[in-house]
């Protein structure tokens, strides 16, 4: 295929227009084209949430080169902040003006809270790199989850393992995102409404990361990733730049978490296990660390593939063996793990890497040819 025309100004405009139409119609194509279309829209909604998470983690891991294995903690913080302020759980204790605030205010609060937790994690690990950093961040992620699991005593804040129920749906611009809505002769169900809401924030976050990439801060992160001492000698304040990466990445996670809580209507510590952190990291690495389109692709593949497998494997097993031989959940992980290994062997730079990263991995090929 020839993508060259897409690089021209005209081609770019056309590409974006086509993309916009596809994105606008996607939920309707899904509900129209599949029997269980709504569950597919739901899967796409989650994919969008994961894109936000992956882009946030990409700032920390891809740009600043700080390996974070506890990233899901910030997602948890965002989700719980939203849940606590928008559910009956604490409504009796908290002052009334704190409950059910304006949606945008709410998201800002979730982002700021998560960002603060990012700084909280970043401060003690300023001097750590590589494996050591990974271990501490892993521990941090677990600490947050265990706190959420146990903060039902002595004062019940998080409601422990039972989680928080009855979280309000978003009310925004006179739209109740929890109720079906008629518009232009179409019935917008909750999954549809949330699709557009999450998509809007996703596009906003993509825009922010794109701007960051070529900014002064973006370049400082690259310098930090490449060589801390040299970066310091360039006049870069390592401490601030690192904390900013942690805070920035965390706040994206917080926004995503808040949207997740309202979409799901229920949060519990189970949603924030280590496996989730690893999944988000997989999205970043698989797609192409530090490259925004790659990271988005990675997030889509990793979050949608299991859904496709779920739909394919069961009928397939029943067709061949007449019964379910392997639990689809286990088989999914098996296939998934195998796919990861193969991809990492064949394309260690990721499926859609930045030019820079592709070069790093293939510089030796060039030399060999020369």
């Amino acid at each position: 295929m020839n993508f060259a025309f897409m690089k021209t100004r005209h081609g770019k405009a056309i590409t974006y227009a086509v993309l916009a139409v596809i994105l606008a119609l996607l939920p309707w194509m899904l509900t129209g084209g599949f029997e269980n279309g709504k569950s597919w829209v739901r899967a796409v909604d989650f994919a969008l949430l994961y894109i936000m998470l992956a882009l946030g983690l990409n700032i920390v891991v891809g740009y600043a080169g700080l390996l974070d294995l506890g990233y899901i903690a910030f997602y948890a913080v965002g989700a719980y902040v939203y849940a606590l302020l928008n559910s009956p759980h604490l409504a009796a204790i908290l002052p009334a003006w704190l409950i059910g605030p304006n949606f945008i205010v709410m998201l800002v609060v979730a982002a700021v809270f998560a960002g603060m937790f990012g700084v909280m994690l970043g401060t003690p690990v300023l001097k750590l790199r590589g494996d050591y950093l990974a271990i501490v961040t892993l521990g941090f992620g677990e600490i947050i989850r265990i706190f959420l699991n146990n903060l039902d005593r002595p004062v019940n804040i998080t409601n422990g393992p039972q989680g928080i129920n009855n979280i309000d749906k978003v009310h925004f611009l006179d739209i109740d995102f929890g109720r079906p809505m008629e518009w232009l002769g179409l019935t917008f169900d909750m999954v549809h409404l949330y699709y557009y809401l999450i998509l809007a924030f996703c596009i906003f976050i993509i825009f922010v990361t794109l701007r960051l990439q070529h900014s002064r801060i973006g370049r400082a992160w690259v310098a930090l990733r490449e060589d801390e001492i040299a970066a310091n000698a360039m006049g870069i304040n390592i401490r601030n730049v690192k904390l900013l990466a942690f805070a920035m990445g965390a706040s994206f996670g917080g926004v995503s978490g808040a949207l997740f809580a309202s979409f799901q209507g229920f949060v519990s510590p189970e949603s924030f296990v280590l496996m989730e952190s690893i999944m988000v990291l997989c999205m970043v690495v698989l797609g192409g660390m530090g490259h925004i389109p790659g990271v988005i692709l990675g997030a889509i593949i990793v979050s949608i593939t299991p859904e496709i497998l779920r739909d394919v494997i069961n009928p397939l097993q029943e067709g061949i063996f007449g019964r379910r031989v392997v639990d689809p959940e286990n088989l999914r992980m098996l296939i998934f793990g195998l796919a990861m290994i193969i991809i990492m062997l064949l394309r260690p730079e990721g499926l859609w890497p930045s030019k820079r990263r592709a070069r790093e991995f293939h510089e030796h090929d060039e030399e060999a040819q020369a």
Binding site: R216, R219, A220, V222, A223, E226, D227, I229, A230, A231, N232, A233, M234, G235, I236, N237, I238, R356, R359, E360, E363, E367
Partner: protein, 238 residues
């Protein structure tokens, strides 16, 4: 012109219990090229690192451009015009030549002037212009040294500190690097040069200091030092 741009008084540096620099005095005046020579482990590199805050002094004072600059955090020095070209070059190996040079201008905001400085660096090092899109890590040692010096020039230094620019380079490349150092000096950039290659350093510099196990043992015009018999014996191999 009488006031020194850099004035170091009774500077002492210790790593743990080991005293690397034992109370030295030195100064660099505006427009001068000063060489600091001495054997391995004499404390030359430590002195330079202390000047840019990478090592904290245990005692003494450093005055740069009228300001006490001892004990600032390392990233504060570039703004003030005190720029180090580190030993072993310290380029960003996985960034291109051009990106490395841009990093040198990280603290600056004046886009137009940055572009003209970039052009100037490429004039000084035509070699780098040819290779501007190549990853710095794939360059030869001499070219990497050029990137390191070019990157430092991009920060518009008032005082450029060079740590062992000849280290690990073939003699012919070393000659070339020193030619460039003379060219930069001719443009009026003040420099403090640390070198083991004493002969070359003294031939290039205006003045020189000789450092021996943490102390400065001799300080004089470069020509006088070159003619000094003791120095010839100890450092010049004659």
């Amino acid at each position: 012109m009488t006031d020194a741009l850099l004035k170091v008084e009774d500077l002492k540096v210790a790593y743990g219990g080991i005293h690397a620099v034992k109370g030295i005095n030195l100064e660099v005046k505006q427009g001068e090229l000063v060489a600091l020579i001495g054997a391995n482990g004499a404390g030359k590199s430590t002195t330079l690192k202390t000047l840019v805050g990478m090592v904290k002094p245990t005692a003494g004072s450093i005055t740069f451009n009228g300001e006490n600059t001892a004990r600032l955090a390392p990233y504060h020095y570039v703004d003030r015009g005190l720029v180090l070209v580190p030993e072993g070059r310290g380029v960003f190996p996985r960034l291109t030549v051009e990106e490395n040079l841009q990093m040198g201008a990280h603290t600056r905001n004046d886009k137009g002037a940055i572009a003209s400085d970039m052009a100037r660096v490429y004039d000084l090092f035509p070699r780098l212009k040819e290779r501007r899109l190549q990853l710095a890590g794939t360059l030869s040692g001499g070219e990497q040294q050029m990137v390191a010096i070019g990157r430092a020039i991009m920060s518009r230094p008032k005082l450029l500190l060079l740590d062992e620019p000849s280290m690990g380079l073939a003699p012919i490349i070393v000659q070339k690097i020193f030619e460039i150092i003379r060219m930069i000096a001719a443009e009026g950039v003040t420099m403090l040069l640390v070198e083991q290659n004493a002969k070359l350093a003294l031939e290039t510099a205006d003045r020189g200091y000789v450092m021996e196990s943490g102390k400065i043992t001799l300080a004089d015009d470069a020509k006088v030092l070159l003619a000094n018999e003791a120095i010839q014996k100890a450092y010049l191999g004659e």
